[in-house]
C-alpha cells in the first residue's frame, strides 16, 4: 500500500485519515477547525526552509522518521563523521535553541562531552567494538542521578546537589557509548503535567513557544523535539513521559513497571515510577530502551524478565508487505473518546484506528468500566507515596538547609523554602490520606481501585493484542492556562494514569495534528500492551510510523 517515496503534496491529498474515517454512529464529526494532516502541509513547506538539523537531513519529500541513532552509527563506522563533530553539532544546536526552549537545567561542560566523544573516535580508529549508543548525544531528566552533573529533581531544595553515583539507567547508557549532554527540566520531583512547576524555569513547546511542552518530563520531550539531543530519558509516574511526547510530537515509551531499574531515580511514587525513553523515531526509542532495561540488584522491584533485542526485532519488520499488521487485534478504549476530550484529538485517534485497519489489524471498541476511577485513585496513591518519599528532603544531610535555633524550625523552614506549592500540596494530601482514621477510606480504597483497574486491563488485553487511546485529552495548551486550576490539570492525566496503576507498558507516537500555533500541534496515539510486551508495542509502533505518510513531526525553530 504505502509506497515509500512520494511528493508531499500528493501524499497529503492521499491523507487517509480523512478519507477513511470510519463512519460510526456515535462519532463526533471531524471538527472543521482541526486540520489533521492537511495542516502539516503548511508546516512542511514552512519547515524545510528553516530547520537546520545537525543530522544528515533527508529531503522532505521522502520524510519519514528514520533512526538518528543508526544514521550516526553509519556515519561513524563509514568514517564520514567523527563523534566529536556530531557532539559539537548537537551542543551548538542546543545553545542556539535553548534561549527559546529552556529545556535544560544543566548542560554538560563542553570539554567533558568532547572527551567522551574522543573516546568513541579512538575506539573507531582502533576498530574496537562500539556500544549501541556510541556517540549518541543523550539528555537526562534532572530527577535521574548523574554523578558528574548536578541533579536537582527540578527542586530548589536540591539546588546544586551532586549525587555520589549515576543512576543505573545512566550508567547503562554510558556503558553503551551514549554521551550525556545535559539534564532536562521537569515539574518539581515529577509533580505536574506542564513543566511549569519546575523550581527553576518554564520550558516551552518547540511547536509553539507560547505553549507548554507537557510534563513532567517536558524538558526531555522538548529537547528531542527541538533536535537538541538524539534521545532522552524521562520518568513516568502517571503519564510524565507519554503526555509530553504527545504535546511535543515525539515518540515516548513508558516501559512495564520493573523493566528499567529505578535506582538513582528520585522517587515520587515508588509503586508507579518508571524511567522511560524519548526519541524522534520508534527505532531510536527501542535502541535506548534496550540499553537501559534489565534486572538490577540495586532495585528489588526490577524484573528478571529477559530483555529482547528490541531494535533487531524492528529491523526485521517487513514494511513492504501490504498488510504488515494482519490479524493484529487492536482495542480502542471507548472511555477515552468521550466527554472532555478535544474533538480534534478524537478524530486523530479514529484516523489512527483506520490506519491500523488498513495495515490489516482488526479494530474493535473495548470498554474499561473502572477507567474513570483511575484518576482519583492515582492521585491518592501517588500523593501518599510522595509524602513519604519526600521526607528525606529535610536539609539535614544534603540540599538546602535554612539555619534555625531549634530542630522543628530547621525542618519547617528548610522544607517551606525548598519546596514549591505543587509539591507542598501533594505532600499535604498524601499525609492526610495516610493519617490514622483516613487510611481505610483513602489509601486502602485506592488500592482496591488499583486492583480493579488491573483486572480491567487484563480482560481487555486478553481479547486484544494492544489497546489504543489518546495520550492526552488535548494537544499542548498555553503556558499559564491551567496553573490556577489544578483540578483541570489533574484531569489531563486521565488517559495515562490507569496504565501506571496497572504497571503496563505503553508507547506514545505522534499520529496527527490539530489546529494551533503557526504549524499545527501534534497529537499522540497511546498504544498499551500486556506486561513486558514492549517488543510488540515497538514493532507495531514502528510499522505504524513507517507507513504513516504525510505527517512530518519536526517543529520549525
Amino acid at each position: 500500500m504505502p509506497s515509500p517515496v512520494q511528493n508531499p503534496r500528493i501524499l497529503l491529498s492521499q491523507c487517509r485519515f480523512q478519507l477513511h474515517f470510519p463512519p460510526k454512529p456515535h462519532n463526533l464529526q471531524p471538527n472543521p477547525r482541526h486540520f489533521h494532516c492537511s495542516k502539516s502541509k503548511l508546516s512542511l513547506s514552512h519547515q524545510h526552509q528553516l530547520v537546520s538539523e545537525p543530522q544528515t537531513s533527508q529531503s522532505p519529500s521522502s520524510w519519514s522518521p528514520s533512526s538518528q541513532i543508526l544514521t550516526i552509527r553509519e556515519s561513524l563506522l563509514s568514517r564520514q563523521k567523527k563523534a566529536v563533530e556530531i557532539t559539537r553539532d548537537y551542543l551548538n544546536r542546543l545553545r542556539q535553541t535553548e534561549p527559546q526552549i529552556r529545556s535544560f537545567l544543566h548542560v554538560s561542560e563542553e570539554e567533558a562531552a568532547m572527551r567522551e566523544a574522543e573516546d568513541i573516535d579512538r575506539k573507531i580508529e582502533q576498530n574496537e567494538e562500539l556500544g549501541p549508543l556510541a556517540g549518541v548525544p543523550i539528555a537526562v531528566k534532572d530527577n535521574i542521578c548523574t554523578a558528574d552533573m548536578p541533579s536537582t529533581g527540578g527542586s530548589r531544595i536540591l539546588e546544586g546537589y551532586r549525587p555520589a553515583v549515576d543512576a543505573t539507567a545512566v550508567r547503562r547508557l554510558r556503558e553503551c557509548g551514549g554521551i550525556v549532554i545535559g539534564k532536562t527540566n521537569l515539574d518539581e520531583f515529577g509533580m505536574g503535567s506542564t513543566t511549569e512547576a519546575s523550581g527553576f524555569q518554564v520550558t516551552a513547546n518547540p511547536w509553539d513557544v507560547s505553549r507548554v511542552p507537557g510534563g513532567s518530563s517536558g524538558g526531555s520531550a522538548a529537547a528531542v523535539s527541538a533536535g537538541q539531543c538524539v534521545v532522552s530519558l524521562g520518568s513516568d509516574t502517571g503519564g510524565s513521559v507519554r503526555q509530553p511526547a504527545s504535546f511535543c510530537g515525539v515518540v515516548g515509551m513508558k516501559p512495564t513497571y520493573g523493566r528499567v531499574s529505578r535506582f538513582g531515580l528520585m522517587a515520587y511514587a515508588s509503586s508507579l515510577d518508571v524511567i522511560g525513553c524519548f526519541g524522534s523515531s520508534v527505532m531510536d526509542t527501542a535502541i535506548l530502551l534496550g540499553a537501559i532495561s534489565g534486572h538490577d540488584r540495586l532495585d528489588s522491584t526490577s524484573s528478571k524478565h529477559e530483555v529482547p533485542n528490541y531494535a533487531s526485532e524492528l529491523a526485521s519488520a517487513d514494511l513492504l508487505e501490504s498488510k504488515p499488521l494482519s490479524g493484529l487485534k487492536v482495542g480502542i478504549i471507548c472511555e477515552t473518546l468521550g466527554d472532555g476530550v478535544d474533538a480534534g484529538v478524537i478524530s486523530s485517534i479514529r484516523a489512527a484506528a483506520s490506519h491500523f485497519e488498513e495495515l490489516g489489524s482488526i479494530v474493535t471498541e473495548v470498554s474499561l468500566p473502572s477507567f474513570s476511577l483511575g484518576l482519583p485513585a492515582y492521585y491518592i496513591l501517588a500523593s501518599s507515596e510522595s509524602s513519604s518519599n519526600l521526607s528525606r528532603y529535610d536539609g539535614i544531610r544534603y540540599g538546602n538547609q535554612v539555619a534555625a535555633d531549634e530542630l522543628n524550625s530547621l525542618y519547617k523552614d528548610s522544607r517551606a523554602k525548598g519546596f514549591g506549592p505543587e509539591v507542598k500540596m501533594r505532600i499535604l494530601m498524601g499525609t492526610y490520606a495516610l493519617s490514622a482514621g483516613y487510611y481505610d477510606a483513602y489509601y486502602k480504597r485506592a488500592q482496591q481501585v488499583r486492583t480493579l483497574v488491573q483486572k480491567g486491563f487484563k480482560e481487555a488485553l486478553g481479547e486484544n493484542d494492544i489497546l489504543i487511546s489518546p495520550a492526552a485529552p488535548s494537544a499542548a495548551y498555553k503556558i499559564g492556562e491551567k496553573t490556577n486550576d489544578p483540578l483541570a490539570m489533574y484531569a489531563g492525566d486521565i488517559m495515562t494514569v490507569n496504565v501506571n496503576l496497572a504497571g503496563l507498558p505503553a508507547l506514545v507516537l505522534p499520529c496527527g495534528f490539530v489546529e494551533g500555533g503557526s504549524a499545527g500541534l501534534p497529537v499522540g496515539l497511546q498504544m498499551i500492551g500486556g506486561a513486558f510486551d514492549e517488543a510488540k508495542l515497538l514493532k507495531v509502533g514502528h510499522i505504524f510510523e513507517r507507513t504513516l505518510h504525510g505527517c512530518r513531526f519536526v517543529p520549525s525553530l
Partner: protein, 484 residues
C-alpha cells in the same frame, strides 16, 4: 492498705550480627569513626533504594522458631514515618500489621538465689526493622552532629505479652532473650553496646481492679541488674502514689533510669498517640517464606537453653549447676563433650563451675579460648577418681592444661606425678618422718592427737605430694598406734 499487682511488658530490640546492614552492603562495626560505614542507601540519598539482606530473614525465622511463634509465610515491610535527624529517610523500614512471627512464648528458670521457680512468658510478636543513626551532642549544647554508622543496621523487635510481675522476672526474661539470641548466633546480645535494648512498660493496679493502671515506659537500662532495680523502683514509686491517694500523678510517660541516683526520671510525656502513618513499603517485595527454607532452619537450630536445662536436670544436676552450665552455650558444649568422653557428671560440673570458671573470669576469657579440652578434663577427672593422681595434683595439672595444653597422661609422666600407692613405700616415708620428729611423737603419745595432721603433712611433703592420702593416713595411724 491495698495489695497491688504489677503488670510488666517488654519491647526488646536485638541488633542482628549480619555482616552487612539490612538494606545495603555497608558493614557495621561498633565503635567505628562517625560516618565511615555509610553509603547512599543508608544515608537516604535521592534515588537510593533498599535491597533486603536475606540473612535478616534467616535470623528472624530462627528467633521466631526459637520463641515458639507461628511464622507469617508471607509478610511485608512497612514505612513508619517521623522526622528526626538520625532517621535519614524520614521513615523507618519496619513491619506493621504482618510481623514475621507472632504468638509464641519463652520458658525460663528463676535463679536459685532468688528462690528459683519456672516461668513461661508470652511473646506477642517478632518483627524486622532497621536501626536509626545516633546524635552526638556538642559539649556546649549549641549544636548536634549526626553519626549514621548505625543507620540501617538490622534489628528484631521482640514484644512480650504483659506477663511479668516483678523486676526480677523482667530482668530474667531479658537475660533469657539474650541467652537465646547468643545460642542462635544472631546477635552478640551486648547491652552496653546497645545490641540488646529493652523498653519496659510498667503499670500497677490494686488487686481486684480489672482496668489496667497507667502505663509508664522505662528506658536506658544497660544491664539486667539495672533493669531489676529500675522496675522495682518504678513499682514502689507508683505504689507510693497509690497509697498517698495520688494515683492521678501516675501519667503516661517515658522515664529514664539513672544509674547514678538509682531512680527513674521523666524523659518525655506522651501527648496523645503518635501517628506514624504506616503504609506498605513499595520499594521492597513481600517476604515470602518457602516451607523448605523454614524446615532447613528448624532442623539446624541448636539445642535451646530451656531444653538443655531440662536435660541437665534429668542428669541429676542441681538447679544451680543447671543454670550455670546452660547459661553459656560454649560452656554447655564443653560440659556435654566432657561427659560424652566419660567424665562423671557432677565432678565435671564442679570442675567447670569451680576452678575453670574462676580462671575464665580472672583472665576474661571464654571457655573456647583455653587450651584445656573436654577430653582432657574427662581424663583428669578419671585419673583422680582412679587414684593415679591426687586431687591436689589434679588442680595443678588443670592450670597447666588450661594455659599450655597437652594431655593429662603426658604431664603426669613428664613430671613424674603418679600417685604413690605402694604401702611399703609409704610406710618407709612414715617411719622416716616419725623418726625425724621424736619431740612431736612424744607429744602425740602424750595425748595431743591433733598432731596426726602435722605428721600427714610432713609425709605428703616427703612424697612430693604424690602419696595417696587415704593410704598415707591409714598407715600413719597404724604406725602411731602400734608404736605407742
Amino acid at each position: 492498705m491495698h495489695e497491688y499487682e504489677t503488670i510488666i511488658g517488654i519491647e526488646t530490640h536485638v541488633q542482628l550480627s549480619t555482616l552487612t546492614k539490612a538494606f545495603c552492603s555497608c558493614p557495621y562495626i561498633y565503635g567505628s569513626q562517625p560516618n565511615t560505614t555509610i553509603c547512599p542507601v543508608c544515608m537516604g540519598s535521592p534515588g537510593a533504594l533498599p535491597v533486603l539482606n536475606s540473612k535478616v530473614i534467616e535470623f528472624a525465622v530462627k528467633v521466631g522458631l526459637a520463641l515458639n511463634c507461628s511464622l507469617s509465610m508471607s509478610s511485608k515491610f512497612d514505612r513508619k514515618q517521623y522526622f528526626y535527624p538520625d532517621l535519614p529517610k524520614g521513615y523507618q523500614i519496619s513491619q506493621f500489621d504482618i510481623p514475621i512471627a507472632t504468638g509464641g512464648f519463652i520458658d525460663l528458670d528463676l535463679p536459685t538465689e532468688f528462690g528459683g521457680g519456672h516461668r513461661r512468658f508470652g511473646i506477642t510478636r517478632v518483627h524486622m526493622e532497621e536501626d536509626a543513626g545516633k546524635l552526638l551532642h556538642s559539649g556546649t549544647g549549641s549544636y548536634s552532629q549526626v553519626d549514621l554508622n548505625r543507620a540501617g543496621v538490622p534489628l528484631l523487635e521482640i514484644v512480650s505479652e504483659p506477663d511479668m510481675r516483678s523486676g526480677l522476672e523482667a530482668a530474667e526474661y531479658a537475660a533469657e532473650i539474650q541467652r537465646l539470641v547468643r545460642y542462635l548466633g544472631v546477635s552478640n546480645g551486648n547491652m552496653q553496646e546497645g545490641s540488646l535494648r529493652c523498653d519496659v512498660n510498667v503499670s500497677v493496679r490494686p488487686v481486684g481492679q480489672s482496668a489496667f493502671g497507667t502505663k509508664v515506659e522505662i528506658k536506658n537500662m544497660n544491664s539486667f541488674s539495672a533493669m531489676h532495680r529500675a522496675i522495682d523502683f518504678e513499682i514502689s514509686r507508683q505504689v507510693d502514689l497509690y497509697n498517698k491517694g495520688q494515683a492521678d500523678q501516675i501519667i503516661q510517660e517515658t522515664r529514664l533510669w539513672e544509674d547514678g541516683s538509682q531512680r527513674t526520671v521523666t524523659m518525655r510525656k506522651k501527648e496523645g498517640l503518635a501517628d506514624y502513618r504506616y503504609f506498605p513499603e513499595p520499594d521492597l517485595p513481600n517476604v515470602v517464606l518457602a516451607n523448605e527454607f523454614v524446615d532447613n532452619i528448624r532442623s539446624s537450630l541448636p539445642e535451646l537453653p530451656e531444653i538443655k536445662r531440662r536435660r541437665y536436670e534429668k542428669m541429676g544436676l542441681s538447679m544451680q549447676d543447671v543454670l550455670f552450665l546452660a547459661d553459656d552455650m560454649q560452656v554447655a558444649d564443653f560440659f556435654d563433650e566432657a561427659v560424652e568422653k566419660g567424665a562423671d557428671v557432677k565432678l565435671a560440673s564442679n570442675w567447670i563451675m569451680g576452678d575453670i570458671a574462676a580462671y575464665l573470669k580472672n583472665e576474661k576469657l571464654s571457655i573456647n579460648d583455653i587450651k584445656l579440652t573436654p577430653q582432657e578434663l574427662a581424663e583428669l577427672i578419671a585419673s583422680i577418681k582412679g587414684g593415679t593422681i591426687s586431687g591436689k595434683i589434679g588442680k595443678e595439672i588443670l592450670f597447666e592444661l588450661i594455659a599450655k595444653g597437652g594431655t593429662v597422661k603426658g604431664l603426669i609422666k613428664e613430671k613424674d606425678l603418679v600417685q604413690i600407692v605402694d604401702p611399703l613405700e609409704i610406710e618407709k616415708m612414715v617411719e622416716k618422718v616419725l623418726s625425724e620428729n621424736p619431740k612431736q611423737l612424744q607429744q602425740y603419745r602424750g595425748g595431743k592427737t591433733k598432731l596426726q595432721g602435722y605428721f600427714a603433712g610432713q609425709v605428703m611433703k616427703e612424697s612430693k605430694g604424690k602419696a595417696n592420702p587415704v593410704l598415707l593416713n591409714k598407715i600413719l595411724l597404724e604406725k602411731l598406734k602400734s608404736s605407742s
